[in-house]
């Protein structure tokens, strides 16, 4: 396949551009429009893009600027600050890379505009649990919590009501996501970790950690206490006040017993905790595990029998975008789904919204390792040139379908969100 960039594509002119685009991205019911954007005015555009450290990577920006011709400014934030700015400082960003669980709070603020899915070229190729909620009949279809499909669509362009069924108006365009679980240091933990309950194992007293973001931490905690048989929930993704009281009580008790070494808020904090040996078992994000491995330290991302907790990140557009900036934003979203970024993030262990596009930019060996769960045929190297896995290694948890299919909860915003945050803060401060 000839190597061409989207910028060259734009430059090649309308006719060829349209032809190429149709050939690559067109689907029968979604004929790809030609590059309707005016290349001259779009060049003057600067898009301000906020998000967490996951995708606010300078290499991605450089490549995007080269391919698209306009400027992109990044700002890497913690998950909390990211949501905070999305809600309270709409003037500070043009595009928002946020998690689906933030939407029940962000959408009512009116700071995002609905995304016309007809303008997103690869929309129909996006992993189906985002767009339709189905996924081969696997557990993820009934996962609890703020599953993306619950907040994926708005009932109308100007509505702030979520639609239970697909419409043409999306809140976020999925970007990258993963199934999270516990990570541990096999050199410092002398058994195989198979259950969320192991986080409360007295053997690891003072050597575990949990993440201090209420909407995410509470889900990990719920999986742990449920697996340990300490309590049961009606719906983990939407707890009642009594359930929140009970779980914080258990957590506070464990904290008093000294079970936790520290709490972390951003994924690199978890990397530092793990690689410095302060913590040997903790809830972790996949790239954090790869980052620990990149330092030459063994780290396992344990497949647990209870299943995974998933998160999904997507791109939203500021309500203030219009004209050339709006065109640029759509062009940027297309570019993000186009595969280069998917492959870039894939090499760190994230999944791309459109796996088949990412596949085009990955080597067959990489694809087999990261998505198919097959043993690495060659050494696996991350985008920054560090070797993560020697040939022969297998991805923890197996293939894309095995991992994402076994998601049992998503990060959640609950009806009792205000109360949850208050109780969570009490746990952290206790």
């Amino acid at each position: 396949m000839p190597k061409f960039t989207r910028r060259r594509l734009l430059q090649t002119g309308l006719a060829t551009g349209a032809a190429l685009a149709t050939a690559r991205c067109g689907t029968p019911n979604n004929p790809a429009p030609g590059p309707e954007v005016n290349t001259n005015s779009i060049k003057d555009v600067t898009l301000r893009f906020i998000g967490t450290g996951v995708a606010q990577i300078n290499d991605i920006r450089d490549k995007a600027q080269e391919d698209l011709g306009f400027k992109i400014e990044l700002k890497a934030l913690s998950t909390e600050e990211n949501n905070q700015i999305a809600i309270t400082q709409p003037g500070q960003y043009d595009m928002f890379d946020g998690e689906y669980f933030s939407l029940p709070l962000v959408i009512p603020s009116g700071n995002l505009q609905a995304i016309d899915v007809k303008r997103i070229k690869s929309f129909d190729k996006i992993a189906s649990f985002f767009t339709t909620g189905d996924f081969n009949g696997l557990p993820v279809e009934t996962a609890q919590g703020t599953a993306p499909i619950k907040v994926m669509y708005l009932s109308d362009q100007n509505s702030s009501e979520f639609s239970a069924t697909p419409t043409d108006w999306a809140t976020l365009i999925p970007f990258q996501y993963n199934a999270d679980t516990l990570g541990y240091r096999p050199d410092l933990v002398d058994k195989e970790i198979t259950s969320w309950a192991d986080l409360f194992d007295p053997a690891f007293n003072g050597k575990t950690s949990i993440l201090d973001i209420p909407s995410i931490g509470i889900m990990d905690a719920a999986l742990v206490v449920e697996a340990a048989g300490l309590m049961t929930f009606g719906d983990k993704g939407n707890m009642t006040r009594e359930e929140i009281d009970q779980i914080t009580e258990i957590l506070i008790e464990k904290k008093r017993e000294g079970q936790f070494r520290a709490f972390w808020k951003t994924f690199d904090e978890s990397v530092n905790l793990m690689s410095s040996g302060e913590v040997v078992l903790q809830s972790m994000w996949s790239p954090a595990v790869t980052a620990v491995k990149a330092q030459g330290i063994e780290c396992v991302y344990a497949p647990l029998k209870e299943g995974y907790r998933a998160w999904g990140g997507g791109i939203g557009m500021s309500a203030a975008l219009e004209g050339a900036k709006l065109d640029a934003a759509y062009a940027y979203m297309d570019w993000l789904l186009d595969g280069w970024v998917g492959a870039f993030l894939g090499r760190q262990g994230y999944y791309s919204a459109v796996p088949e596009n990412a596949k085009k930019f990955m080597s067959a060996e990489e694809w087999d390792f990261w998505y198919e769960g097959k043993p690495a045929a060659v050494d696996m190297v991350d985008p920054f040139g560090k070797t993560l896995e020697k040939a022969g290694a297998v991805r923890d948890g197996g293939s894309f379908e095995e991992r994402m299919g076994n998601v049992v909860v998503w990060n959640s915003t609950m009806d009792e969100q205000v109360y949850l945050v208050q109780k969570w803060n009490e746990f952290i401060a206790a």
Partner: protein, 261 residues
């Protein structure tokens, strides 16, 4: 005997002050295989160079420039404002005590209130926060009081005869200030500039909610502590320390030569 004990105590204190910094200096002078913790794997300047390279996330260079400009602006404003106000305090005027306590309270109010307050104000008034507007304001609440208190002290010890003499010789207000007052207070102004610059350059809590879309250096570093997992962070510490020491040396030299005149 007591003197010996005190010397030992002082030495321990200096060790306490510098120990951790020496640790990061050492860790920043590593080769590419260096890590965040001891032992040192190899010696090299790799990470010092990395600071100026593009980072994986964020940028030290741009945020350093912002902090530099912000620091200079803060110093300029703080000096002008505090010299004016402290000149006013040489005469009695109504409300002077109120202004004095207002200044003191600006020092005393915990930084998080300034940050939260300015943040909320801008939000409620629907104005964008920015490092050069709300950020500048937040820094002024921290630097102006220092500048003002130092200037009050300077004018307390200031001999008004020089000015009277100048006026007797027919110099106007402006000329008196330029040719008599200014040269006399110049060394103190350099001191204020140094102090004010450092206070602003290092300020974190007051800036944290009001820097807007772009980070100042301390905010960027704080972001880095959670986003960077390489000794580049320590290298940055080494470089900013060297930068500060150079600033002190230059400022101190200027102070010495000026006060000798």
């Amino acid at each position: 005997m007591i003197k010996l004990l005190l010397t030992a105590f002082f030495a321990l204190f200096v060790l306490f002050l510098y120990g951790p910094m020496l640790a990061i200096f050492t860790l920043s002078l590593q080769g590419p295989d260096g890590a965040l913790t001891f032992p040192v794997r190899s010696f090299g300047f790799y990470w010092l160079g990395q600071v100026f390279q593009e980072q994986r996330v964020g940028s030290f260079v741009e945020s350093f420039q912002r902090s530099l400009w912000l620091g200079l602006a803060v110093v300029a404003i703080a000096i002008i404002v505090s010299v004016m106000a402290s000149m006013a305090f040489r005469a009695r005027f109504k409300g002077s005590l109120a202004l004095f306590y207002l200044t003191i309270s600006s020092l005393v109010v915990p930084g998080v209130l300034i940050s939260l307050g300015i943040g909320i104000t801008f939000q409620v008034l629907d104005i964008q926060t920015n490092w050069f507007s709300s950020g500048l304001g937040a820094h002024l609440t921290w630097t102006v009081p220092f500048a003002f208190l130092i200037m009050l002290g300077v004018f307390n010890r200031f001999n008004p005869y020089y000015e009277e003499a100048a006026r007797d010789l027919g110099a106007g207000e402006v000329r008196t200030f330029q040719e008599v007052v200014l040269p006399l207070i110049l060394p103190s102004l350099i001191g204020i500039a140094l102090l004010g610059f450092t206070l602003s350059y290092d300020e974190f809590i007051r800036t944290s909610l009001v820097s807007g879309q772009y980070n100042t250096l301390p905010l960027e570093i704080f972001g880095m502590t959670t986003n960077v997992t390489s000794p580049a962070l320590y290298a940055l510490g080494t470089l900013t320390t060297l930068f500060s020491v150079t600033m002190i040396a230059v400022g101190f030299g200027a102070y010495k030569s000026l006060s000798r005149q």
